[in-house]
Symmetry: C2
Subunit: 934 residues, 2 copies
């Protein structure tokens, strides 16, 4: 039996000269055959857009007609598109776009913004050429403006930056291919996500956005900002990148994303229409103007799935504008106009004020003293894991599509593609998808889409592997290895395993397979025997395949710490969820909200049944705390990190109490109230219990109010030790006691939390008895200065894990004759360099993203700048040229032309030479083909 | 004090030669100055319409996109138009018309019908010329077709033919003026009214409609018609008119007026949209086809206030048509097409079948065994009376506008008009207006509209009277005389009273006025003293002014019968309404439905306090049965009819029982289960207890199931006597025992009857304690052969009652010097001829409707044809020509060109020479100006 691996990478460091600091992304377009002229990302369209005139001496009220179209929530994305299941929620996006188009064409002063490319793309495909032409005209004239423009409006708490960049790229690419530069969104628009991640702002800045608007932030934060007229600011979104690279002008919208009370004219609203005798006294714009600093205010005229019948909106807004502005002749100083976020932003920019600087993030989000939206950090842990695993597969699929060439799409296994999984993954980034805040049937649909994507990718991967190995025997993939199910290995005494490692360096990865026998030999490609063990563990036979490394320090400490925890406080404590009956508030825990009924967790069990195993590959302690909580503590020989494989569920609710299960790690680390969590899996942010950096927190939920999202890791430290927990999915976590870390693993609740989803979060599982979830935590205890050198590659390997492909039957003879090993790279990349993206862009070019993955000061060695020789990167592909793009690959890097903003720390000019005179509203530049030919 | 009267009419009978039988309407256009060329009622538009091609060998499914827009119901007509108060019901007609227009323009195969001109008129006024041009094109091409086309879709049970003709004329005139012949509706469309009156069908026939479709009929009747394939028929709607004058092809729609289940794609529906993979197996058109006789079936694709976002409908219907018709290539015999009722009717006509003949009507309507919609015959009795009184004022107003000339509209009292009241009255004819089935706030709005119309008419009347009398002293009108309130008479010792009689003959009319003194003298124009009496009656002083006639027989019988009733069974019995808790059904009484909880009425009181009065004018017995039921039995000297003035309310409901108050008249007449009720106040129909003429009735509600609407009268008879009760408003009535008549006067209920109005019918009255209602019944006991000679003029005088105008102050000196008497007619018309309409059409012409008001056999003398000399009709106007029109005045009479239909009684050809070859779908004829100049 062969293990085909990519372990013979050779590290070569050469040539790509970069003056950038650490932690940068490099998004590169590699014209493999140098057909540069094909890359007309910037088109020849001229942007005829001129923002509507404003009145310098008046208060300008920018009406921004918009719709917020969730890419799935109460209904599936298909149901939303078609307007199916309107009994659940009245919403049909196809009609929204139909209707808005008609209304925009009816009056050139009207404007509209559109956000979610997942829907727009779909609609566009169904339009005839006349309609497309009309839409293109509207886009070119700025009457229809795309904002945000990703495939979806991603969640910010539970998404990984890798998938966010991909989904943004997918959406923005469609806009760029379809409309050219005039279709490029200038404004990021996250009006609904439930808290805002600094890494999102950093990404948006690096994608070239000029500004960012959102609706939800902590109610205390908002009150403070209103009081201080600090609703708009510059967000300095990275501590690693030199300003203004990650600076993003950020505005809090006055009214969430809804219209002012009484001014909602959608079919879904009941506000009175404007009649012939207008009574417009009800709403005083001055109240809003008081919160903001310039003589511009923005009003979001729309909401969820509105504008299905746009005539209702526009007909009444037309009247509003007419009647209010008519009062100017009687001395009114209010000027109402149709506008867009970009035009509003232009007004702010022209005001030339100095803005405050925001350095932290907007987590956690609370909309009331007992209403912390920190439950969704963990909601639907199985979906969250499946999404993360799907991202890994997608990267494998993308890479093999490049390495396997055209045969990978159409080969011996049929037609495969990466697009299906890419779209499913992009949908899954939506803030009601991986967030876990959708209805159950919608969660099922997201999973189904991913599964369909997997199937398409598996065909592609099989084709690619067949091409690379010249071996076309059937390949199988085992998706249920986490529950020890794999027909290919269970039913065969001999099988072939191909391991594809998507990282740009060698990795040690344990392989555990269910087998139907007790004596197996594992052979490497050239016949070397690999150490393996067969053991009977929890009813499933497993074979371990492991590269061996020397064990170093620390391991025992963890084990003992954990066992100590088990014996003293119970290892898997959990919170009982509030049912809403308390004196303070009737808010229960739900899909969004975490609200335990006590600050002290309940102990599942003071004792555990334990089983131990120790062989040449691994040593394990299996712990069963209760029929629904168990854990395997595992240490592989050669690995320095402890693995905790937890299994939770079905969570019992017969006692009529919802439960939120946490794992708590208690140590002697003197953490002094501080802990550190990642932002979208990338840069780490400092957290402090019962504290917010930018306002005087009045803490009202001592547990939920201290929860933060973790996408990849959390740590506590003192001067001597740092305990880092690396997770396999997004979760909620905190440190409520010094030396203690807790991570919420699973939740099952009995009440809806009244934020719209209308269901208690109680996942049924396959048998309707409640979902069982299994996952892993990797723990590392290190000195703080070495920690990043450990947890960065650890997290990287957990995010992009090897793909296993199985072959059975007599084809092994072939395998013996043609031992197969292949590396797509000529050499491993330096530890600081993460191969984030390698995907086929079109027939002649490849999109490559390299990432410096170490934060600025976290590693004495790895945080330093590094260089990579692109020309010598690939083993089988000739790179004949390279053009650097913005992060989302919809603009040439050297044409990025963002607004400069004066900040309280002084003006920082973009290195590309931006000035205030340059702006987003000049003429579109024609396409200048970028191709740096080697 | 003067009484100005029109009592000097001279009867002259001359010249208008008519070969018609009795009971005809004559709608005449009188060009007073013979500017015939102005009457371009038929325009020069050519009707380009061709109905969509059908497939002779297939089942043709006519999809008829339509909206049903109530002219008030849960919301007021304004709220419906603007889309205000969408919290009550989502509905905004302005948007419907906006949206449908866009969708029709987008695809020439699409069609739409529009019904309610009250809404269309309003919308049209707000459109720019480009929009109007586009709409006109759609109308000319048959893509937008008007059906019905009256101002509203009138109620059929509680409306008087006079007001129905007026409202139809108002709506159809707008369409004719705006679109010419191509805008003339060919089909009457009463899809929602709760039962169907034969007189409505008769009117529609005389208005030139080719067919009539409706949705609601008794569930047993419908079942029988489905079984017998008798859903479509010819309704012979008058026993007086020679067929086919009042014949009307009538069709019962298959699904009420809704789309088939699963095919509702409106924004208000939740049916799944058609997606790319259509599943169209759900609905089997054959089930519908089985009910009908031709290879055409009609599907009403729409419902209440639908098409506000027409794109949803059309987009899915486009797909339905495409996908279903695509199956024809695989042998399907189903052909789906966009169509209209006219095109469907054309298909039926071309089938050239012989149709059954319907002679009776469609009352009462039941949609279940315990669900008789017979409560609304009486619901809101005060509104019903106000509507009837407003009709009288409107006719006065119309007449005086003609007689007073241009000064009446703009004169010494300011600007007045009849249009406001005409529109308010036309709105009030709606099947949720005078029917009493609207919400309370909407009922208030109808009343407010009428009141506004009154004010405009009062100004016009004052101007006209000033012009005719050359006397401009202020005039006042006392609208509360029924409760003895009139400031003009109460606060003045001297006042002038002008009495205008709108009938075409002399009438005897008692005038009762509240005065503040005990000794009054009433003087006629030339100084003659008129007999009058001042009496203290029920706390209000009244002065009686009465012309005296000899009293003949019968009176005592009635009084004794009534008093006998009082003593024996209580005079004002009532039913307790079902609260819905019964074994048979949970249907309660409500605004629509009458369902007493017992067939035996409760007696209000066995005894009454009585007061008697007898003087030279009147003799009265005042009866107080309870604090909330009283009655005055009154006989004027010189009158042969007994007046019962009843006062009912506030109906007590403290016992948690709704109540429906009836008055019952018990006699010894041997009526044998038969009784007779009017149809819309005109022709009488025979009724029989527990019997329907066209199907074998299974009676399940012995009281409610025998109730019928009466608009003007009900009678029972035997060979000797006929007891006729003439009412002052529409009511529900029956004869449940031989010799007995009962009339429901007032209702107050505690439950909603679940037919949509969503309120219990419990009118609050001014003080929120419950509405008090007062009304009158006039009773005549005659031999049957003389009865019509009595009840026809009696009812006529109750429908069109004299207008009283008061003047106070010193102007009486002028009055003494210029005694004023005026008659607009040169002479009274014959008793058979009712002056139905005299109104200004435009500056140079007048619309005149004369009506033969005797049914074919009811009077030996008065049922005979009569002739009237039009040229010598008016005393002050010169009639220089005349053109006869159809009943609704939107077509020249001799151009009426209706479909002929073969009936089971043989084909009857229209006298104007219609043939089957002629049809409604030929080219529009150009305008031929009609003007028969004398």
């Amino acid at each position: 039996v062969f293990s085909e691996s990519v372990s013979d990478h050779v590290i070569r460091q050469v040539c790509l000269s970069s003056g950038d600091t650490a932690y940068r992304f490099f998004t590169l377009m590699l014209p493999l055959l140098c057909f540069c002229h094909r890359y007309d990302l910037l088109s020849l369209y001229f942007l005829l857009q001129s923002c509507p005139a404003t009145q310098p001496s008046m208060l300008n009220v920018h009406l921004v007609p918009h719709t917020h179209d969730d890419v799935g929530w109460l209904k599936t994305v298909d149901q939303y598109y078609y307007g199916d299941r309107n009994d659940i929620q009245h919403a049909g996006v196809q009609y929204i776009l139909d209707s808005v188009l008609e209304q925009l064409l009816a009056d050139p002063t009207r404007r509209f913004i559109y956000v979610e490319t997942a829907f727009f793309f779909r609609w566009w495909r169904q339009q005839d050429s006349a309609t497309r032409k009309a839409v293109t005209m509207l886009v070119n004239e700025g009457r229809l403006e795309f904002v945000n423009g990703g495939w979806c409006m991603s969640d910010e708490a539970t998404t990984h930056y890798s998938a966010v960049i991909d989904q943004m790229t997918l959406g923005l690419r469609f806009l760029n291919d379809t409309f050219g530069a005039c279709g490029r969104p200038r404004v990021a628009w996250h009006i609904d996500p439930f808290g805002h991640a600094r890494e999102h702002a950093s990404m948006f800045a690096q994608m070239g956005y000029d500004g960012f608007f959102f609706g939800r932030l902590d109610y205390q934060d908002k009150a403070r900002r209103i009081r201080d007229k600090d609703m708009e600011m510059v967000w300095r979104a990275s501590e690693s990148l030199t300003p203004p690279t990650a600076d993003l002008f950020t505005g809090v919208l006055p009214n969430g994303y809804n219209p002012p009370a009484g001014f909602c004219w959608d079919q879904s609203c009941n506000d009175p229409p404007i009649r012939d005798d207008p009574n417009l006294e009800d709403y005083n714009v001055d109240n809003v103007a008081k919160m903001y600093r310039t003589n511009h205010i923005i009003m979001t005229m729309g909401s969820d799935f509105q504008y299905e019948n746009a005539n209702l909106w526009y007909k009444n807004m037309d009247k509003l504008i007419r009647y209010v502005n008519a009062k100017q002749s009687q001395g009114s100083k209010v000027n109402v106009l149709y506008s867009t976020p970009s035009c509003y932003l232009q007004g702010l920019h022209q005001a030339n004020l100095t803005w405050s600087v925001k350095m932290d993030d907007f987590f956690p989000y609370a909309d009331g003293p007992h209403d912390f939206w920190t439950g969704y950090f963990t909601s639907r842990p199985a979906l969250k894991r499946y999404e993360r695993l799907s991202n890994s597969l997608l990267q494998v699929c993308n890479q093999l599509e490049v390495l396997g060439g055209p045969n990978s799409r159409k080969g011996p296994y049929g037609e495969g593609d990466s697009d299906t999984l890419q779209e499913a993954m992009s949908v899954a980034q939506h803030h009601d998808a991986v967030s876990g805040t959708e209805k159950q049937h919608v969660a099922n649909d997201y999973a189904k889409r991913l599964a369909r994507g997997w199937a398409h990718c598996e065909t592609l991967v099989s084709n690619a592997l067949a091409t690379l190995s010249s071996w076309e025997a059937p390949r199988e993939y085992c998706l249920s290895l986490n529950i020890s199910v794999c027909p290919a290995t269970e039913n065969s005494y001999k099988f072939f395993l191909t391991v594809y490692n998507p990282l740009s360096r060698m990795v040690s990865w344990p392989v555990r397979l269910p087998v139907n026998g007790s004596d197996y030999m594992v052979l490497q490609p050239h016949g070397q025997v690999l150490d393996s063990q067969v053991s009977l563990i929890m009813a499933a036979s497993s074979i371990m395949v492991s590269h061996c490394y020397a064990i170093k320090r620390s391991v025992r400490i963890f084990v003992s710490s954990l066992l100590k925890g088990t014996q003293e406080v119970g290892f898997q404590p959990g919170y009982n969820a509030s049912d809403g009956n308390s004196a303070d508030s009737n808010q229960p825990s739900g899909a969004y909200i975490f609200r335990p009924n006590s600050s002290t967790p309940i102990i599942v069990s003071q004792t555990a049944k334990t089983y131990t195993l120790k062989n040449s590959v691994v040593q394990e302690v299996q712990q069963e705390f209760s029929p629904w909580v168990s854990q395997v503590v595992r240490l592989y020989w050669g690995s320095r990190e402890l693995e905790l494989e937890w299994t939770v569920g079905p969570i019992p609710v017969e006692d009529s109490l919802g439960k939120e299960v946490i794992t708590r790690l208690d140590t002697n680390i003197n953490s002094s109230g501080y802990f550190y969590t990642d932002s979208n899996g990338r840069e780490m942010l400092e957290r402090r219990k019962d504290f917010r950096p930018t306002w005087d927190l009045k803490q009202s939920e001592p547990v939920a109010g201290n929860y933060y999202p973790i996408n990849s890791r959390i740590y506590i430290k003192d001067k001597v030790n740092q305990l880092t927990a690396v997770t396999d999915r997004s979760q909620g976590a905190s440190s409520l006691q010094d030396g203690s870390l807790e991570i919420m693993l699973h939740r099952r609740l009995l009440y809806d939390d009244v934020r719209g989803v209308g269901e208690p979060l109680s996942e049924p599982g396959d048998d309707n008895k409640g979902l069982v979830v299994r996952g892993r935590l990797l723990l590392a205890l290190t000195p703080p200065k070495d920690a990043a050198d450990i947890h960065r590659p650890l997290a990287e390997a957990l995010v992009l894990e090897p793909l296993l492909a199985f072959q059975t039957g007599e084809a092994h003879i072939v395998a013996f004759h043609f031992p197969f090993q292949f590396s797509g790279l000529q050499a491993s990349l330096p530890p600081a360099v993460h191969l984030l993206t390698l995907s086929q862009w079109d027939q002649e070019s490849v999109l490559l993203r390299l990432e410096h993955q170490f934060q600025v000061t976290e590693s004495p060695t790895n945080s330093q700048p590094v260089t990579v020789n692109l020309k010598k990167l690939f083993s089988t592909l000739e790179v004949v040229g390279v053009s650097e793009m913005n992060l989302s690959a919809n603009q040439w890097k050297d044409e990025m032309n963002r607004f400069d903003w004066k900040t309280s720390g002084g003006i920082v000019t973009f290195s590309t030479g931006n000035t205030n005179e340059k702006g987003i509203f000049g003429m579109c530049q024609s396409c200048l083909h970028k191709c740096e030919v080697f």
